[in-house]
Every structure is written in C-alpha cells, then in structure tokens.
C-alpha cells in the first residue's frame, strides 16, 4: 500500500466515522457528553444546584444534584467553585454536560 492508498484508507476511515454503511456491522458508538471550553471570567454560577450556569454571550445549562466541581485540582462545592472562579481571571474552565438533557455533569477549572 503506498501513501496515496493509505490516504484513501484514512479518508475511508473518516467516512466511517460519519456512518459509512460498509462497516455498519458494529453497533453505533455514541458521544454522550458535550463541553464548553471557556474561561473563568466568562462564567456566572447560580447560588444553588437548582439553578443554571451561564456563559457570557452563550449558553445557560442546568446544574443537577450529580454535578461535580473540580477547582484547583480538588473536588469542591458549588459555592467554593464560584468563589474560585471569581479569582481565576481568564483561566481555562470547561463545562461538561449530558447531551441527552443538557444537564451539567462536571465543571473543571484548574489554575489561577
């Protein structure tokens, strides 16, 4: 197989990812979470898990009892996460949410 043939195989692989029929013998693999990569100073936290977390100029997503918060490398409460984010400036923050109902599963902010 030369390089061009290899490329064809590669592109065929991408086609597979889009649901190519030739390989439909395997069950579908599902992406079950989406995420928003933003920065700490772009996020507004609610006061309780019954509220929504909002990204400035973007989406608002529902929190839930199972939502987990990781700030500075530790699992923290919603209140602690909000406080941490307020002091984190433009540090990267990622919101993960379930695609089926858009409920937030995890929010992570690492550094300040």
């Amino acid at each position: 197989m030369n390089l061009k043939q290899s490329l064809v195989a590669f592109l065929a692989g991408l086609a597979l990812a889009a649901g190519g029929a030739a390989y439909a013998q395997r069950p579908p693999v599902t992406v079950i979470e989406g995420s928003i990569e933003t920065s700490a100073n772009q996020v507004i936290f609610p006061s309780s898990l019954a509220g929504k977390v909002s990204v400035l100029g973007g989406q608002s997503l529902q929190l839930g009892p199972g939502t987990q918060f990781t700030a500075g490398g530790r699992l923290v409460s919603l209140a602690d996460m909000a406080a941490y984010a307020r002091g984190a400036g433009s540090a990267p923050l990622t919101i993960h949410y379930r695609l089926k109902d858009s409920v937030v599963s995890r929010i992570t902010i690492l550094g300040k």
Partner: protein, 495 residues
Amino acid sequence: MRIRQSRILAALAGLLLALGAGGSAVADDTEIFFNQSNNNASANVMLILDTSGSMDDNVTSVIDYDPTRTTYTADQCGSNFSSSNVYYGTGGTVPSCGSTNSIPVTQFTCNDANASLASGAGASGNGYYSGLFVRWSRQVTTLRSGSTTVYLWTPYLGGHSTRTATISNGYYVDCKADAGIAGAGDPSNSGKVYPTKNTDNSNTTGIWDSAVGNSWWGVTGNTGGSYTIYSANYLNWYYDSSQRTVQSKIHTMQTAANSLLDSLSNVNVGLMRYNYASLQRGFGASGGMVLSPIQDIATGRATMKSLISSWAADGYTPISESLFEAYRYFSGGAVWFGLNSQSTRCNTWTTYSDGSVHCASESVISAPSVAAARSPATSSAANYNSPMNYSCQKNYVVFLTDGLPTTDSEADSAIKALPNFSSTAGSCLTSLSLSGSDGTGLCTAALAKYMYKNDLRSDVNGVQNVTTYFIGFGGDFSSNGRRRRRQGLHGDQPQ
C-alpha cells in the same frame, strides 16, 4: 531504492475514529502506512495529541463480540433473536429488532458461511457473512388467461414483485461461494453442487445439479443478491446494552496511544500536546510544545507513554498554533510557544459509578519544549533541532483532536508571513462560524498545505516537506464535521 513500510495507527485511528460521529459512529481499524524510503532513513512522525478540557467528555464504546459466548441478551429489543434462524440485511443495514428478514437455519445451505456464523465453544467467526445469494422461490405469473406457478432459484431472499410475477419467500438459500463446492449445504451431495438454472413445477425446496452447464450462476446476467447474513447470537450482542461501556475521551486516547506506541518499530516518533497556559503570555495564548523529540521509537517509547498517561484534560484547543510550533520544530526554527509552556498532570484518577475514569486531582507543571528537541540540546537554546536530516526521508504530523479550535489566533500573523505563503498555501480562512468554535484557528489548513508544498530544509538534499494527517473525533465532527473538514483540514492532503 529500498522501500519499507511501517504500519501505524491501526489501533489508534480505529479507536479514535470510533468517537468521531457525534451522535453515533462506527468503530473499525483504519490504517495509515508511513513509507520509509532510501538509505534506511526511518520516517519521522510527530504526534500532536489533544489535551483540551473537552477531552474529559464521556463517550460510549463497545465491548467486542465474542462468538464463544451465547448468553447475550438483546434487551434493547425486548426479546432475543431466535437461534433457529439467521437474519439478513442489505446495504450494510443490520436487521432491526423484531426483524422478519430471517431464514430458518435448516434452510440456510451456504456452507461457506458456517465458520463466520458459528457461535459457542470453539467458535471464532465474526458473527456475520457477506456474499451473493440465491433462494429457491415460488413464482406466480399472472396472465389474462390465468396464472402459472413455478419454482426456481432467484436472487431475492425476501420475495419480490415484478410487473407480471410475484416471487414469494422460498426455501433453501445458497451462496455463490458454494457453487461447485457444496450443494444443499453438503460438500458431497452426490456431486450436485450447482443450483440449477431450470425451473420446476413441483419441487418446493430446491434443486441442485451436477453439471456446471446447468448452473444458475452460469447464466448471463445472474449475479445473485448481495446480502449480509447475521447469526442470532451476533444480533443479540448487537442489541445488548450491557456490551456498552462509558469512558472519557482522554482515558480512551491514553489507552489507544500507548497501545500504538507499543506496536511501532522502525520509525521515529515525537510527541507534542497543547500548552495549558503560558505564564509569560497568559491563558489565552497557548499553542503546543515538544515534550519528546522525534527519535527512534525504541528510544522514546517509555517516555512518551509515561507522559501521555499522566496528562489531565484541561484548557483550550489551539490547533493552528500547535501545528505552527510543529512547523518550527521540523524546520529548525525558533522555539515559540514552547518557551514557557505548561502541562497538566493528573495526580489522582478516579473511576465514576458509570465506569468512566476522570482526573480527580491535577496540577499545572512547567513543561517547556524539552532540551533534547533543541539545538544545542540545552533547555535555554533558542532554536529547535530539526529531525529532517536525510534526503527522501518522509515526515509526518499526526494530529488527534476532538474539537474545533479555541483561542487559536496568535500564530496567524506569523503563518501568513511565512516565505511564499500565499503562492504555495493560498490564504487563511476569513471566518469560521461553527458551533463549538470561537472563530479562531483560521490558518490550520493553509499551514498544513504550506508544510507539504515547501521545502522546510533547503540545506538538505531533496525536498523536505511534511504531510499532516488530522484525525478528528468527538461531537464537533458530527453534524458540522464534514463541513469543517472541508473548511479547515483539506490543506493537509498530499497532492
């Protein structure tokens, strides 16, 4: 000229592509061969792995079908498929729950499919078989004067209607692969190993003939029906929800990448990742850095595996900036994003109730481009040490990313200012307006094309260029994925 080929990415690409269709995707191995030619100069491959925050997303994956296991439960269907039948699909479509596209096992005489469809102790088939088939069928032709009924082999497994005739589901099903080898599922069958081309007025099960001249397959235009046959056991696995697992992308990638590195030989491999943040430039300017220089895989394997396994997914997705740093490395240019870059290290991994593995405790650590990637090999050296040292040596970037670029514009001006950029690479995009993107990363495709079109080491004989492969996986490559590939990634393709 001596040509060798090193197979790479069979596991990695297959696994990651499996994540690639957003709503759903299909897993299978995909191979890229990195040619190595002339003077035993091994190919150079730079892996750039996505470590952004979105890599902590969960996806489902599938536990492989085990034909020796017969206890699968098609709970997604409410009841199991009957082991008294095999089932058929067309056009790559797997039979749905409750499908009546079935053939009694006692009527399925394709001997060639036996191994593929077998299940239970000692079985090793994949559970399905694709081929060309015929079925002994009842054909009723309606005329003004009345109707006539005959039996014959037809290429229709599920019955068929034409303007004048109706073909009903029949009896035996045979396959082209058996022609001349077996009849009625029997390799001997008294020598009658060809389905007959003749019709019959009364035989309701099927007729085989010993004369090749009487073979249905020998009739001009007879090609058989193209079907895939599935065992009930396979379909029970297919619709068994317990055969799905949940895992984070980063953990999946770590497992796959380490497996890949273990499988490689006779190739030079380096490793880059996204910069989490730059103390000097701030969080918004990240790019990527060289954490393992391109070197013989046998030398760098352990270090790369250790690094990959340690990474926590966090930060942005600076695709073009990271590719630009790779360009600088290949061309022996100045270290830029790798000057004061940082990595994310997971201190504690935890397994969630759904089985997915995520980082519970992570740290930011200083991680500039390593000294071994620089010239001279010191941590303070300003320039990279290009790995492209031989004429005819092949050079590749393999870029694995799950998302659209974010905060990915700082290299744009420098990319546009590259020598002969517009004449060889065209232009950067003017905008990228897609969900999940912040509108940056406009120069990714053009830079990939530039790296392919230009000689990056004019001091080495021959043309030293770089071919870039992007492997996209995750939700960003679903509904807008193809559009994105058109907009952003086509510049990487060899011409």
